[in-house]
């Protein structure tokens, strides 16, 4: 399109970018590189932007997402005052969906040079440069391709834009909704309390609101919805933008997370169990091989016994004497009395080993069915012991475990869930120690302490591992927050634990100092717990 006649009048685009001193920033080059005939004015900060806007001949502001956020906010405000549409350029950021930056409307977002050029071209072609964002929304390629349901409603309460995902959820085609009154997707009369209606009438914003929309087939559909007013040029409202998703889908995704949580603790469990099973498997396996050998040795002896029996019954004293001597020699060779004694011992030890494995499998089964419907009076010390038994083999080479138990009253709880929490805490403590000492040969200490607290019991798990930095401390209970390498942590241990503890009406808190250690404090109430 470069040099084509339709763009004979060169468009003036203002580019706000921190860029490199003096040069043309990447997004500027992207615009030029895609053959747009435009005159580019680059500004690096808000004051320069204000001066350029005051000159009054810019048609569009391209805002580089690399700008400091306060600067960016200020420039967006300036652009809005000047009635200029804004395209946000976050090149290399991956697909971007942004109708607002802070509270300012944005006409389009671009994460590649081509998208940026397309969005700028669209806006210039539609003359949108001087229009308010509400009316330029439909023309942007980005919104069309956006994989999130989006509705734009103009000040008169008509649907000014509906993208494909939104139309799909509403059970119709995008064009069919265009220009229809709000009632066509909110129901008639329009419920005043509906977030979209409130946004339109009072300028309120909503985020992650669970509500319903009316489908073309007359059914209501549950959605999670966020919406916000689009400010118009004179400070009045130009309309509302709403994005939403289907709750059924949201629920399914939550289900995935639950499944992953389960998998996370099963992974930890598998590692613990593997170590537990190595030893009994090892000696049972060896003992069986040895038992087979003993059996064949004893068979040799038995054949001598039979030979002796035969000659003795025949009444041949000389032959009998020879056979008896041979038997004695063989018995000595095989060391029969030892073999008989050790055979019994090998069998006994193997039985004990298989019993151990049976216990482990039992524990595992308990863990994988954690949800009994009734709470029981749980002995927290016992929960700690049985959990420590499971994880101990995986950490014994690096950890000294100190237990300090008080006599505790029973706690109404789902014991398996409590064990899951304790296991998460113990494994985290071990991993923190592992990170600190590496393979230096040093040891760490985990201290497990229980005590009676007002109206409940308290369990502390302390370690002298790496500790947690102040900035991470806020985030450790967030799902998927992890500092561990891929494959070793999913970042679900603590968020799962937190939920379980909440369900029990308890609390889980952390104290930590970097390079010193961490204490996790778990409180469980003895009284009738919170509903759950």
């Amino acid at each position: 399109m470069s040099g084509s006649s339709e763009h004979a009048a060169v468009a003036r685009v203002l580019l706000a970018s921190p860029g490199t001193q003096g040069g043309i920033p990447d997004c500027g080059r992207a615009l030029q590189g895609h053959g747009l005939a435009l005159s580019l004015e680059v500004v690096r900060d808000a004051p320069a932007c204000a001066r350029a806007l005051a000159a009054g001949d810019s048609q569009l502001l391209v805002l580089d997402a690399g700008c400091a956020s306060d600067e960016a906010g200020e420039m967006l405000g300036l652009a809005q005052e000047a009635g200029l549409a804004v395209v946000v350029a976050a090149l290399g950021s991956g697909p971007l969906e942004l109708a607002y930056w802070g509270s300012q409307p944005v006409a389009a977002c671009a994460s590649t040079g081509a998208e940026l050029a397309a969005a700028v071209r669209d806006l210039l072609d539609s003359g949108g440069a001087a229009e308010i964002p509400g009316s330029v929304l439909p023309s942007t390629a980005i919104l069309r391709g956006l994989n999130v349901a989006l509705l734009a409603i103009d000040a008169a309460g008509r649907i000014s834009h509906c993208n494909e995902p939104a139309a799909r959820i509403l059970g119709t085609r995008a064009e069919a909704l265009q220009g229809l009154p709000l009632a066509s997707c909110l129901g008639s009369p329009v419920p005043e309390a509906h977030p979209v209606a409130q946004s339109l009438s009072r300028g309120d914003s909503f985020e992650g609101y669970e509500t319903t929309l009316l489908r073309a087939d007359g059914r209501n559909i549950a959605v999670g919805l966020s919406c916000a007013p689009i400010p118009g040029p004179g400070g009045d409202r130009a309309g509302v933008v709403a994005v939403f998703n289907e709750l059924r889908e949201a629920r399914r995704m939550r289900g995935d997370v639950l499944q992953r949580e389960k998998m996370a603790s099963i992974g930890q469990l598998a590692a613990g169990v593997a170590h537990e099973i190595n030893n009994p498997m090892g000696f049972i396996h060896a003992n069986l091989a040895q038992t087979a050998e003993y059996a064949s040795e004893l068979r040799q002896i038995w054949s001598r016994v039979e030979a002796l029996q035969k000659v003795a019954l025949a009444g041949d004293p000389v032959q009998s004497r020879v056979a008896a001597q041979e038997l004695a020699a063989a018995a000595e060779e095989v060391d029969v009395s030892f073999v008989l004694g050790d055979l019994a011992k090998a069998i006994r030890e193997s039985q004990e080993g298989s019993e151990r494995i049976r216990h482990i499998v039992q524990d595992l089964r308990d863990f994988s069915h954690p949800d009994s419907s009734e709470r029981e009076a749980a002995d927290v010390n016992q929960c700690l012991d049985s959990t420590a038994n499971i994880v101990w083999p995986m950490m014994k080479h690096l950890v000294v475990l100190q237990k300090n138990y008080a006599d505790l009253p029973p706690v109404p709880a789902y014991p398996m869930q409590i064990k899951q929490v304790l296991m998460n805490l113990l494994v985290n403590a071990y991993q923190a120690i592992e990170q600190r000492v590496g393979r230096s040969g040093e040891m760490g200490t985990i201290e497990v302490e229980t005590r009676v607290a007002p109206e409940g019991v308290e369990i502390r798990v302390s370690d002298d591992g790496v500790g947690i930095s102040e900035e991470h401390l806020q985030r450790i209970f967030d799902p998927f927050f992890t500092t561990k390498r891929v494959g070793s942590g999913m970042g679900l241990g603590l968020s799962t634990s937190f939920k379980i503890v909440e369900r029990h009406g308890g609390t889980l808190s952390v104290e930590s100092e970097e390079n010193v250690g961490t204490t996790m404090r778990l409180f469980l109430p003895t009284g009738p717990a919170a509903p759950g």
């Binding site: 099973i277 090892g282 000696f283 396996h285 060896a286 040895q290 011992k345 014994k396 393979r439």
Partner: protein, 129 residues
Amino acid sequence: MSADSPLVLIVDDEPRILSALRRSLRREPYEVITVESFREAYHVLESQPVTLLLSDYKMPGMTGLHFLAEVARRHPAVVRLLITGWMESIPQQEIDPVGVWAVIDKPWDDAELKDTLRGALKAGPPVPA
């Protein structure tokens, strides 16, 4: 066992494993001593002419690898072997500098174990890299 037959020392904190290993090696041409801790192992190493040392990896207080590294310093003539369980894979670059003759998997195969030990005894101590 004759006075000059080799002496094999085995360390594992699990007595049932030691008992099974003694069984497996009962008829082998060397004497077997088993202990349950590194402390006892040092004691034996200091007081008896140990030819070969087989250590478990996961031990309370220290890994078998650290122990073998220490033994390599104090008793370089002792042939050193490690026994490890499922999911205890140890990076080769950590094993190499310690001069470990072989790493035996737990559960072990009797015939293989005997072959490995005989081979190790015949070869003598490896020179640490």
